[in-house]
């Protein structure tokens, strides 16, 4: 919910080099149609990212972070439906666009990198032809031109011998190389916003470092805005400028990463940071958040975190705490955030 002021003032294609807001999401609500009725899985989510910056959507499994990204990209599963909110991309609310118009944005404006590269690539086409596709479709490039551009792209994301490897199939690449291919495909048309959903979770640490470095380098070069969806606090700490912490379908805290991590203003963020083993003496009892997150179908009234919260009081059971500003660029959805800020 940062950067309200810029909404709607952005014009043009969004590939502008200014540090304007590239993507602004507000009030986004997604429901899942289940046999037992409609279940809200993303509730009133808001965040914004500026060009050339990285925003991390941080949360544990089931918190709705991937669903949020899919809703923004228009890739929701048919059982899920956006029932409210705005997704402003380059000044336009993409949720109000028709199918065709929205599709035309996929690639030049907004692109996505998925967690599982092997299932995201088509196994029966060579990687060269898959990488050439965006140029064929969006730029009506000839086969030969598209192919040359694909090879260039492969070189740009660090695939050795790209000319030769373009003729290979996805299964002939290692996990790290596949992720590079997926990133290449996503950045092919220089999107102004890149959504990366757990891009390194399936990879080994040493390869993970390579991929994060590649993403950071591409972001610097093209000034695209990066939305990094992750559960890894350490990745957020190193890669992101801004963070939005999600819990049970909603943003509970947001702000600049350094500030949020140094002085969290929501007890959930605080609990997460405390659970990190580093910083505690070896073998000591780690502070942990008791219990586990509520299931999407049975989110309690009031604050969803209250059952696990050390600060919870009667009011938390009845009043849903809104995400309110707690300082410049910072917001928290806790009635008692001041008690954390004071400590």
């Amino acid at each position: 919910m940062t950067g309200h002021g810029t909404s709607g003032t952005e014009t043009g294609t969004g590939t502008s080099t200014g540090s304007g807001t590239a993507l602004e999401v507000s009030g986004l609500t997604v429901e899942l149609r289940t046999p037992r009725g409609r279940t809200p899985v993303v509730r009133d989510v808001g965040f914004s990212v500026r060009s050339g910056q990285t925003l991390a959507l941080l949360g544990e499994s089931g918190c709705g972070k991937s669903m949020t990204a899919q809703a923004v990209a228009g890739l929701l599963d048919p059982v899920a439906e956006v029932v409210g909110g705005q997704v402003r991309l380059g000044g336009r609310d993409v949720l109000r666009l028709g199918r065709r118009e929205r599709r035309s944005l996929a690639g030049p404006q907004l692109a996505m990198v998925f967690q599982d590269a092997l299932t995201a690539l088509n196994p029966v086409y060579t990687v060269g032809s898959q990488l050439a596709e965006p140029f064929r479709i969006h730029e009506q490039a000839s086969r030969r031109v598209a192919r040359n551009k694909a090879v260039e792209l492969m070189e740009r994301v660090g695939i050795p011998e790209p000319g030769l490897r373009a003729k290979a199939y996805p299964h002939q690449f290692s996990g790290g190389m596949r992720q590079r291919l997926l990133i290449a495909m996503a950045v092919a048309l220089r999107p102004s916003v890149l959504l990366a959903d757990e891009p390194t979770t399936a990879l080994d640490v040493t390869v993970q470092a390579q991929i994060m470095e590649l993403l950071a380098q591409l972001r610097r070069e093209t000034r695209m805005a990066l939305v990094l969806i992750t559960h890894d606090l350490a990745v957020v700490g190193e890669q992101a400028d801004q963070v939005a912490v999600m819990y049970s379908g909603t943003v509970v805290e947001s702000g600049p990463v350094a500030e949020v991590f140094a002085a969290p203003r929501h007890p959930y963020t605080r609990g997460l940071l405390d659970s990190v083993p580093a910083g505690h003496p070896r073998g000591s009892t780690l502070p942990s958040i008791e219990g586990s997150p509520p299931r999407p179908g049975s989110v309690p009234t009031g604050c969803a975190f209250r059952a696990r919260c050390p600060l919870a009081r009667d009011r938390c059971a009845t009043d849903l705490p809104p995400l309110v500003a707690t300082g410049p660029g910072r917001a928290s959805a806790c009635h008692y955030w001041k008690e954390l800020a004071d400590v």
Binding site: G175, T206, G237, L272, S292, P293
Partner: protein
């Protein structure tokens, strides 16, 4: 020096130092295991999962086993559990080679080494209740707990891992991931083992729940003096729980020693790069022996066709001719004989 460094490692866990704590319980020497695979590009049909691995697990300690996927850490665990027979090398458990055991003595040995699996969603039979799951090992070891005492023992075990006695009647799908992993731990404890091999026990769990399960494991060790072989790719987690660590790369242990020494002063370039590649947790101390990030080029070569000499040399920034010609031997660090690294050019 070696003795003090080592006992200091285990002794700061109050209570683990029983009369026998610290003495070697499980020793492996020169373990080698290959698997037959379809012919690779180079024509090889053997996958070298383990290549001359030495390992010691002492009573009551936690040995961390670190490495990337395909490095052989799970194969090693399977050999230690006798689920896999090595091509060469020996395993000694309390002085006895378990691979020579048969019948009753083999069954008795199996009781002493148990396992906790990575995926608490796949490793528990959904048609059994938590109580049945925990009591199931006693079908193979009926003499361990008398039939009349089993219900009470199940309740005890549930409480030991932080669940309620009443949970015995519920099915796995009624529990969250963290609770399921507690059931897995209770099930491993049912046979009063001396060693529990934990294969990535918390990597399927969310951070807020991970800490709960790590705490349960630590408490149980303090109470029962059980030893853990803790397999994980998560370095901060290993650093938190392990007394000693062994770092594996392509089927070999490249570095081993007291955890604190290995983490603060790594000697093998691979260990250093692993430590430096792991994203730094937000709460970590700024100086961690890895001020400058080392980003390795390339990826782990295929275990069907490992490089000659030192297996890490194809990605090592210090590699020289000698690394391709000869396999480096384990060398102790100066002043720290327990801290071994297999490198021609240690850091």
């Amino acid at each position: 020096m070696s003795e003090t460094a080592d006992t200091a490692g285990t002794a700061d866990r109050a209570g683990t130092t029983g009369p026998t704590a610290g003495e070697p319980l499980l020793e492996a020497h020169g373990l080698t295991k290959t698997f037959r695979v379809p012919r690779s590009a180079s024509g090889s049909t053997r996958l070298h999962a383990l290549d001359g691995v030495d390992l010691t697990v002492r009573r009551g300690e936690t040995l961390g086993l670190v490495g990337e996927s395909g490095c052989g850490k799970s194969t090693l665990a399977r050999v230690l559990l006798m689920l896999e027979r090595p091509d060469a090398g020996t395993v000694r458990y309390d002085g006895v080679d378990p691979f020579t055991l048969r019948g009753k003595s083999l069954l008795a040995w199996r009781r002493r080494v148990q396992m906790v699996f990575q995926d608490p969603f796949a490793s528990l039979n959904p048609r059994m209740t938590a109580g049945e799951l925990i009591a199931e090992p006693w079908l193979s070891h009926p003499d361990l707990v008398p039939r009349s005492g089993r219900e009470r023992r199940v309740r005890e075990l549930l409480e030991m891992v932080g669940l309620r006695a009443g949970d015995a009647r519920r099915h796995p799908q009624e529990f969250s991931g963290g609770q399921r992993q507690r059931i897995g731990i209770a099930r491993a404890l049912a046979l009063n083992p001396e060693v529990i091999v934990c294969d990535e026990p918390v990597s399927a769990l969310d951070l807020s729940v991970q800490a709960q399960v790590l705490n349960v494991l630590t408490e149980l060790q303090t109470e029962l003096g059980v030893a853990y072989v803790f397999i994980s790719h998560d370095l901060p987690v290993v650093r938190h729980v392990a007394d000693r660590v062994a770092v594996m790369y392509l089927g070999r242990v490249v570095e081993s020693g007291p955890a604190e020494e290995v983490f603060t002063a790594p000697r093998h370039p691979y260990t250093a790069s692993l430590l430096s590649a792991a994203p730094r947790p937000p709460t970590a101390a700024p100086q961690d022996g890895r001020s400058r990030r080392i980003v390795l080029f390339g990826e782990v070569p295929s275990p069907t066709d490992p490089p000659s000499g030192c297996r890490f040399r194809t990605r090592c920034w210090k590699a020289e001719q000698v690394c391709a010609d000869t396999v480096p031997a384990d060398e102790p660090a100066p002043g720290a004989p327990q801290h071994l690294a297999a490198c021609h050019l240690p850091l």
